[in-house]
Amino acid sequence: MSLVSISGSLLYTAFILYLIATFFFGATIRDKRTDDKKGRSGKIAIGLTIIGFVAQIGYFITRWIASGHAPVSNLFEFMTFLGMCMVLAFIIIYFIYGLGVLGLFALPIAMVIIAYASMFPTEISPLVPSLQSHWLYIHVTTVSLGQGILAISFVAGLIYLISEIDQTTGSKRTAWLETVIYTIFLFIGFIVITSVFNFMDYQATFEYTEQNATTTTTEYNLPAIAAPNEGTLLTEGVMQPWFEAPAWMQGADAGRKFNTVIWSVLAGSVIYGLVRLVLRKRIGAAIQPLLKNVNPKLVDEINYRSVAIGFPVFTLGGLIFAAIWAQIAWDRFWGWDPKEVWALITWFFYAAYLHLRLSRGWHGEKSAWLAVIGFGIIMFNLIVVNLVLAGLHSYA
């Protein structure tokens, strides 16, 4: 068995262990004790999480040995690492606060991130010259550790919102909360639909002309609802596209990415709709009774604490280490590249959060909403900036 396939199996093992651990964390919420660390299901749950985490470290190390460089150099590797950092951050916070319900939400979100990552090309690719630096490891690992810790504040915020928002009648707040949950379903939709068509080995090739007049081809792995702008389908015997992507969608594979977004929205909406049909109420309302033992003040404090711990780490990795490396590689420590801009926006946002915590009235629900938005900004920087606004960081 090759090192690469061992590495893949370890990642798979970690994923399964997180899944099982989630159920055990679920069992802790029936426990009335404040400290879940002492309960039996809590002990099993955190034990499984730690074993899963170790397995994922195994994945990381074996892949590092196989490729000769730390596996944080493309979207798959980076997102997987982010999922791992999130689990690590959860383990740390769990040992401080002993709140099992945190795992019930943190692990599934880490799993969605890891599964999402696996939908992108997983081949080991060599490092281009700009990435050949020790700063790659230093910068990327610190950033994602920071983001992983900040993600826990999102988890705490989400738990707060689900447990505290009045679900007896529909309101703006319940609508926004459902929107957040729905967005998570879109990711699940993406994962499901991509896996299905990958399994079927679906392929359709389009030819289209870029603005600089070179003609290229792009490979669709999902049936084309939207073709590339002015693209022609080369593959025979596959679904004809329904319409073309608008002309302003430019850049590498814009049409294909647009098509993927359409599929994710369709699949996510169908899954969300089915869940709603089964539950016959808002998903937030359905989860709320599970969280009736949750102490909102403790959850709010975890929300704040995660930002307090994560913010310095993120600053160090996302701005300072990033600037040092940029100075060495690109001769300037700051260049207003979209990725840099969004790292700055993230930093500003959490700085604003920390300042608002000084004011009365910003604890509790408002902090929870802020934590959700903050995580939204992080994911925006990871996904939209990479795939749409791509600048110098388009590889990562």
Binding site: A66, S67, G68, Y97, P121, E123, I124, S125, P126, V128, P129, S130, Q132, Q211, N212, A213, W248, Q250, P296, K297, L298, E301, Y304, R305, A308, I309, F311, P312, T315, L319, I320, A323, Q327, I328, A329, W330, D331, F333, W336, D337, P338, V341, W342, L344, I345, F348, F349, A351, A352, H355, L356, R357, S359, R360, H363, G364, E365, V385, L389, G391
Partner: protein
């Protein structure tokens, strides 16, 4: 100085809402509300006398109060966030893709993004981050950082310095964490003191009143990190100075020695070789990825020698070059010498340096050369006198040939990347020239009646390296600012200021506690401190969602 004398005898500065010494509420805002319900004290900055909360008469007061407000600071941050996000919608001017059909911003934005792109360009958003209003926003944040910090740190420092272990009863009972115990024995008090010491609290005692405090230094964290940020902003201003910051770019062709711009003609650089390496597609680790993505570069490198002109000081003297360093510049491995840093920033492969031609009879199937000549593309001659009496005049020279929109030959750049020529060939003893047009893969004779034909026999090529030449003495300031910021932010975030007061009352005690963050932590401390004593555990008096 106007001030308020507290019943404990301490004279407080005007504006203090809690007595600096005993903590008794001084201001109405800190009093119990009309319903008589006990309210928690507003413990922010320990109720100290902040200038912004005290004076609001002169314009200076008003400006001060405006910038010292956290709310204003947060609004400035929000505006900066929105502006920054807008700047990332379309590429900024410097990131207009190199392969765009037209890189002129006046054309590019409208061309690619339509009407929205045009508006974007016309509003100047393609240079947003260097616009006056964006810089102003950042500067206002800087002003707010300074004023808000001074407004808070001075009175807070005084208040924490003045505080006495003995506090007013209402100060204790109106803390968020509070408990009252009717009977507490001496032994229990000793026990709790021992526990607190073990938890590294520093204890002060006054007539049985105990103040246990730890990590007060963490209160200074925010101000330390703000100092770091201000140093960074000042360093950014220093960049405008030519002495501290210089940024130049130079193209050096292989074999060439050129003066390094920005060095006052003191340093020269010679490009020995530009190297571009790619990954081996047979490397089994990467073969799959290379098959998908195509060729992947592995190394960009220029081998150079740096010379110093020792005659530089003498005006008009010929350069006397002494090599001072010979090295390789790679991406991620810049070359440093003296104050200068050279970065591998760009390359141009395969520029033509010279082209060789032969003249032969058009009818000759063997194309036997009657005469040969070579054009040096870096400095072409006008006329070439050849063997056998041939003469060639260089009619037109297009270094980077293309046909423009009207179908007329033109040159895209001055660099010989795709050279083309119009040649006038004078046969031996003739005054009438035959016209030939020659380029890569092109050999056209306009009349079709030429007796002699010109053909390309050989050419030489070389690469060019683009190097950034940089002097940056501002980096240490940015580094210091960043380091101070990190120290401050860690100091403030990873330690928490905790105070626990034990206030004797009758036979028992009142116990109050305050922290600026991490209430869960201080509750745990208290839980462990009262372990094994009769003292009651504190209750959190704060209502949900204060």
């Amino acid at each position: 100085m106007k001030g308020k004398k507290c019943e404990c005898g301490h004279l407080n500065p005007e504006g203090a809402t809690l007595c600096e010494a005993c903590g008794k509420p001084l201001e109405e805002s800190q009093q119990t509300d009309a319903s008589g319900k006990k309210q928690l004290l507003n413990m922010r900055y320990d109720g100290s006398a902040r200038r912004s909360q005290t004076y609001n008469k002169s314009i200076i007061d008003k400006v001060w109060n405006f910038f010292s407000s956290v709310k204003v600071g947060v609004w400035l941050i929000v505006l900066t966030i929105i502006a920054s996000a807008i700047g990332s919608i379309f590429p900024q001017e410097m990131y207009i893709p190199a392969d765009a059909p037209n890189r002129d911003p006046a054309v590019f934005y409208e061309d690619r993004y339509g009407i929205i792109g045009l508006i974007y360009f016309q509003l100047g958003l393609h240079n947003l981050y260097s616009s006056w209003w964006y810089i102003l926003l950042i500067a206002l944040i800087g002003v707010s950082l300074v004023i808000a910090s001074i407004d808070r740190v001075v009175p807070l420092y005084k208040a924490l310095k003045m505080q006495k272990a003995k506090r007013h009863e209402s100060f204790i009972s109106r803390q968020r964490l509070f408990s009252e115990t009717e009977h507490v024995s001496e032994a229990d008090l000793e026990k709790i003191k021992g526990h607190l010491r073990k938890k590294r609290y520093r204890l002060r005692e006054e007539n049985g009143h105990i103040l246990a405090e730890k990590n007060r230094f963490s209160r200074w964290g925010p101000y330390v990190n703000h100092i770091g940020l201000i140093i960074i902003l000042l360093a950014a201003i220093l960049r405008f100075s030519d002495v501290l910051y210089m940024d130049e770019y130079v193209w050096v062709r292989e074999g060439e020695t050129v003066v390094l711009p920005g060095t006052d003609r003191e340093y020269y650089i010679e490009n020995h070789d530009f190297i571009l390496e790619t990954y081996d597609e047979d490397d089994e680790r990467f073969s799959e990825a290379i098959a998908q993505e195509g060729t992947i570069p592995r190394n960009f490198q220029t081998n150079v020698t740096i010379y110093r002109d020792s005659a530089n000081a003498v005006a008009g003297a010929e350069a006397e070059l002494t090599p001072i360093t010979e090295d390789q510049i790679r991406l991620n491995e810049p070359l440093k010498f003296e104050d200068y840093t050279l970065y591998q920033s760009g390359y141009q492969q395969n520029e033509f340096t010279s082209m060789s031609f032969k003249v032969h009879e058009t009818d000759d199937p063997e194309e036997e050369a009657l005469a040969n000549f070579t054009i040096d593309l870096t400095s072409p001659d006008g006329v070439y006198e050849l063997d056998n009496g041939f003469r060639v005049e260089l009619g037109e020279y297009y270094p980077d040939y293309y046909l423009d929109d009207n179908g007329i030959p033109a040159s895209r750049t001055d660099y010989p990347r795709n050279p083309a020529f119009v040649l006038f060939v004078y046969p031996p003893g003739s005054d009438t020239a035959e016209v030939s047009f020659l380029g890569i893969g092109k050999n056209i004779e306009p009349t079709g009646e030429n007796e002699y034909n010109v053909g390309i026999t050989d050419f030489e090529m070389r690469d060019a390296s683009g190097l950034t030449v940089r002097v940056d003495h501002t980096l240490p300031f940015f580094g210091a600012g960043a380091a101070i910021f990190m120290i401050g932010v860690i100091q403030g975030m990873y330690w928490h200021h905790r105070r626990i007061w034990i206030h004797p009352k009758g036979n028992g005690v009142l116990l109050g506690a305050h922290t600026n963050k991490n209430w869960y932590g201080v509750e745990k401390d208290i839980e462990q401190a009262i372990d094994g004593t009769s003292i009651n555990m504190v209750k959190d008096q704060q209502e949900k969602d204060e």
